[in-house]
Symmetry: D2
Subunit: 163 residues, 4 copies
């Protein structure tokens, strides 16, 4: 059972530019992470885009949807910025693909000591092996359906819409 990981950037893959002193993108850290977590699940990595999700336009989300559609794999993990993750999830959810899709991201970039990125990736990789067909989000150790999740921007956590 091969899993495709579609990489779109987001806080997860932010890189620190020491010359400019800011957070930006350079490359994905997924190959490095998958190695040290000792993952033996067959993975197909796809670098779809490296973008802050606040900068995502409709075309960007269509590019993610198109990748999901084209993927030969039935099970897909998507790394995505948290700010508009639910918007892309909605685009994917409404498309109604017969695939198991789990989106995740990070509140703290992987390159920080105390990042949630590796934990979230673990959640997503197992979730995608167990969920039914449909689009899901995993953050904060929880799993949400695409149409019942929102980011609480004050607390920096994801929560169900229906309390």
């Amino acid at each position: 059972m091969k899993i495709r990981i579609i990489i779109t950037g987001g806080t997860f893959d932010k890189h620190y530019d020491e010359i400019r002193g800011n957070l930006t993108f350079k490359d994905t850290h997924l190959p490095e992470i998958l190695k040290f977590v000792r993952c033996t699940v067959p993975i197909e990595l796809e670098l779809n885009q490296l973008i802050d999700s606040l900068d995502m336009q409709t075309a960007n989300r269509m590019q993610v949807l198109e990748s999901c559609r084209r993927a030969p794999e039935d099970r897909i993990v998507i790394t995505h910025g948290t700010d508009t993750m639910t918007e892309t999830a909605e685009v994917l959810g409404k498309a109604g693909l017969a695939k198991r899709i789990v989106m995740t991201g990070a509140m703290v970039p992987y390159i920080f000591n105390n990042s949630d990125a590796v934990f979230n990736l673990g959640c997503a990789l197992i979730a995608v092996q167990l969920v039914p067909v449909g689009v899901h989000i995993t953050m904060n150790g929880r799993l949400f359906a695409w149409d019942d999740v929102q980011k609480n921007r004050e607390l920096g956590v994801f929560e169900a819409k229906r309390a």
Copy 2:
């Protein structure tokens, strides 16, 4: 949906004793980990024992089983040394409790830069929310039933018995 995490020690929670220069146990790192991974799932932590799983005797495994039995929660994650994880899984599996139990551990202690502990914990916390009643093991990004898993000691990975 509250999840109980039963801590038994293992490589996951190994501590470096800088005076003696060896790996030993001092305390669990679970509270610290659950905080920085930003977990919002209600968790009940239970420090069952802190032991190298090579030192586990029947009484130690019974102590784990008894904790599972007594737990008011239906969903239980167990951190455990990898060397005899499948043996404890067998004890739990044969007991046939009507609970969802997911065991995990680490090949590299949490305190190392390149540990698999946090990833494995993510896998276990999501798995326990999705699996049917029974005893499971998650390692290497994969999920196994208790009666179809073995540790490949040469490669340091878990694999299904039935190739």
Copy 3:
């Protein structure tokens, strides 16, 4: 021989704000660092300011100078942003205090896995015990006099003016 560490902020002490997704200041990491590096030199920590050195005005540099002047200690380490470290060094150098002052900073914040902050702090703490009276900068494993150092902004390294 007590050493005063005057903290002014800079990249060294940058903090990641996971709600806003940017690098900012919250508190200094010096107490935590001094503990795990097992420093036994008596240290007096002074939180002078927490500021990006690009935002430093004359008043900010005067505040650092005034702290150096008032300090009962003869040996002073200053953590400072790299962008205008040489400017503050010039202010301190021209003041001609009869003290041993060593400035340092970081190109990558301490909170990143691959930060140079801890290394630079080691350099500064030893240097201040060995240098003659005057103002010095240590970065990149090298020691510079305040009037013969510049930051090479393309390479992100400090170098002597007189090649």
Copy 4:
């Protein structure tokens, strides 16, 4: 001014063997460390041996002395296990080479999150540029002469013999 770093192993360079679950040696981490700390001092790395200093025999210490003698560089840093660092320092000190030698090590291996290795390396690299001819040890942010230093094994710190 080129600096030679003579590597002998010790806790500094300990590696975690995830198959056997113990700390051992595999290779030195110095090239990786020197890169991320952004060191621009010309360095000549010499892998002299990779050994726990408790296992060091006379021949091992002679091998270090011989490397110091043969080195074209005047300034030498030696990474060494802490348990018998003072013994090797005595061998080197009594040899009376006309070189500046600074020994250091680590109480916690570099591969741990909270290691003192990188800090100690910073201390040693700056110290060797400033000390007079002779053999020195830097640990805990302090600098000691080879004939006035001992390891306090209860506290895990280095201290002067003459309190």
